[in-house]
């Protein structure tokens, strides 16, 4: 018993201080965690050489504007996954928030924002409470809130999309610019920087990684396991709510049926970013690269169609994303095994 505890504590400490280093191991670790960045840069170079205006301001800013929703959800998901959990409810939570913020939008931009984020917070609270208090598997809890949020969104919206107010300035939130950059891109950027700082330079971030590394050991070390787990689900819910506000403001309507499959997009982005689904390690920066990479694939598909060399329907997008995810996951599995064998 005491020996297994020692091993467990050792594992948790390992999660805190990083794996022991050797030159080859370091290289493998870099490839596994930062490979996505390399792939992203290669894809950008490929696009810049092949297409006109690929790196032009319009294309880059549009890409940033419309991928922020996914980025916000992916940040929340990254934290949840690093604790060894999962949050399947983010997509329909965003849909619910978009409906509520659209309904409140005639009363001004701030009330719309508060309502949307508040709805996300409530779903996150339910997730956190059921997981930490009732001790039900995160997968099941968030599956249930996935269904419930979808139902609530349809009920509030009366089964149709809810138009936002165009007078109150609510649409600026998703469509406006600030200092030449899209407002959503600012929000997304702040979320990634804030998330990165919280993960790397705070007790909260270290506790998140310790829980994912070995929950029992983290508890024995006196870390506030339940409180931190509760908080990551609330955070994930709130970020999904924020994504919903941006969705409503960008499309001019609350969309009760949107958000289906967003959770899987976010999980894919986190996995592509090199975060292991068993938790204990991960990076917010690599998650950002993952989001951009998945967004860029769609972008390049559009450009390729524009050149007229090939003509692929939008349906190919999910096939290509799937194949891409397949390749990344297999590579990651092999790298992780090699790293372990060393």
């Amino acid at each position: 018993m005491s020996k297994s505890l020692q091993v467990a504590a050792g594992e948790a400490l390992g999660a805190l201080s990083g794996p022991p280093q050797s030159a080859q191991r370091k290289r493998l670790h870099f490839l596994r965690t930062q490979g996505v960045l390399v792939a992203l840069i290669l894809l950008l170079i490929f696009g810049a050489c092949r297409y006109d205006n690929f790196l032009g301001a319009y294309n880059v800013l549009t890409l940033l504007r419309y991928n922020t929703m996914f980025g916000l959800i992916a940040v929340g998901m990254a934290f949840v996954i690093m604790t060894g959990g999962i949050d399947l409810s983010v997509g329909t939570t965003a849909a619910l928030s978009s409906v509520i913020s659209a309904t409140l939008s005639p009363h001004g931009i701030w009330l719309g924002l508060a309502g949307g984020v508040g709805a996300g917070l409530v779903i996150g609270l339910v997730n956190g409470l059921a997981i930490t208090r009732l001790k039900i598997l995160p997968f099941i809890v968030t599956l249930c809130t996935f269904l419930a949020a979808h139902g609530l969104a349809l009920l509030f919206a009366g089964n149709q999309s809810v138009s936002v107010s165009w007078e109150s300035g609510f649409t600026d939130f998703g469509q406006g610019d600030f200092l030449g950059f899209p407002i959503p891109a600012w929000i997304g950027g702040l979320a990634f920087i804030g998330g990165s700082i919280a993960l790397n330079f705070s007790g909260f971030g270290r506790t998140v990684l310790a829980i994912g590394g070995n929950e029992e050991a983290a508890r024995l070390m006196g870390l506030p396991v339940e409180r931190v787990k509760f908080f990551v689900y609330v955070l994930s819910g709130a970020l999904a709510g924020l994504a919903g506000v941006i969705l409503a403001s960008q499309f001019g309507a609350g969309q009760p049926n949107e958000g289906n499959g967003w959770e899987l997009f976010a999980i894919a982005a986190v996995v592509v970013g090199g975060t292991r689904l068993t938790g204990g390690e991960g990076s917010i920066g690599a998650t950002l690269s993952g989001v951009l990479l998945l967004g860029l694939i769609f972008n390049i598909l559009n450009f390729e169609n524009g050149k007229g060399v090939i003509s692929l329907s939008a349906y190919w997008q999910s096939v290509i994303r799937g194949v891409f995810l397949l390749i990344v996951v297999i590579l990651q599995a092999r790298l992780a095994r090699k790293e372990k064998d060393l």
């Binding site: 809890v141 249930c144 269904l147 009920l155 689904l277 329907s313 190919w316 096939v319 194949v323 996951v329």
Partner: protein, 322 residues
């Protein structure tokens, strides 16, 4: 009747007593308060609607019993459902031969879905990828493949064999319901009385121990994903048969959640090591009846979703305390 049902549930432990009690209460409530509940039509409608979910959920039960999960079932249904009309609709080549074409239209789509299951199994066993990620790949790509096959178009058809699969009856019982019952019976027998069933439970209970005890863990896991894929393929064929049309965008949409919910309510441990095929059938029936009851009493479908979520949570919570 309730007492008898409870005793049955407890003595055999095939079905969690809570789920059985829930089902009995639902039926009693409907008998008392829902008009025209006790009619063959109501009976057939509910069973027909639940049959595809049950067929998928049986495969899901086996996968979950090994400690895995399969998110790709809906996409595999879409592939098989999109493929079948392409084959029996062909007017030239080998597929144009009537009997051969028909056989191919049933066998090839199921094989295609099984191949998807084999991919899932390979990723889980050979590459040691967590099941939720491994099956996420086909969840995303599978529907895309089905949409690419049909260019996203609705395929309508009139075909005798599929017409019978969808609307045919044997002694007044719809064909899909019979297929569903046969599959449930076979799966329940496999889990209770065969070595393979024991292997599945051993793998889910403690994989390391099972491996050391000589259980062919890799082959067992591979097999359950292939079986789950094949059953999804069959369910896809039934869905298009019922509708007399195939829409790759909609076939099997969201069914993975219904299937997992049925498994959870039916008392199969979601962490693996215990499987209750009959429980899964009861679980699916409960979810279907709840939805039917709410709809019959004028509660909108959206509210039924919220209720469904609460039921699954309650079922899993009670199962934990059991």
């Amino acid at each position: 009747m309730t007492a008898l049902a409870l005793r049955l549930g407890q003595s055999r432990r095939l079905i969690p007593s809570g789920a059985l009690l829930g089902l009995v209460l639902l039926v009693v409530f409907n008998l008392a308060f829902t008009q025209n509940f006790l009619s063959l039509q109501t009976f057939n409608i509910n069973l027909t609607q639940v049959s595809t979910i049950v067929i998928v959920a049986v495969g899901m039960t086996m996968v979950i019993a090994t400690g895995g999960i399969d998110l790709s079932v809906g996409s595999l249904m879409a592939i098989s459902g999109a493929l079948a009309p392409l084959i029996f609709g062909a007017h030239s080549g080998l597929f144009a031969v009537p009997v051969l074409g028909m056989a191919c239209a049933i066998v090839l789509p199921i094989l295609a879905a099984s191949a998807g299951g084999a991919l899932n199994g390979t990723l889980v066993t050979r590459f040691r990828i967590q099941p939720i990620v491994a099956t996420l790949i086909l969840f995303i790509a599978g529907r895309g493949i089905a949409q690419v096959l049909t260019n996203g178009n609705l395929q309508t058809f009139s075909n005798d064999t599929f017409h019978w699969l969808g609307l045919g009856k044997v002694l007044g019982v719809p064909a899909q319901v019979i297929i569903m019952l046969i599959i449930v019976a076979i799966a329940a027998w496999v889990m209770r009385a065969t070595l393979f069933g024991r292997y599945i439970l051993a793998t889910g209970g403690n994989e390391r121990a099972a491996r050391l005890a000589g259980v062919p863990v890799t082959r067992v896991k591979m097999a359950v994903y292939v079986i789950c894929g094949a059953l999804s393929g069959l369910a896809g064929l039934l869905v298009i048969a019922i509708n007399s049309s195939a829409d790759a965008n909609l076939i099997g949409m969201g069914i993975e959640l219904d299937a997992i919910a049925a498994v959870a309510v039916g008392g199969t441990l979601l962490t693996g090591g215990r499987a209750r095929i009959l429980g899964t059938l009861i679980g699916a029936l409960i979810i279907q009846l709840v939805r039917y009851t709410l709809l019959a009493h004028g509660v909108p479908d959206a509210a039924a979703l919220v209720v469904k979520a609460a039921i699954i949570l309650a079922a899993v919570y009670l199962q934990k305390r059991e």
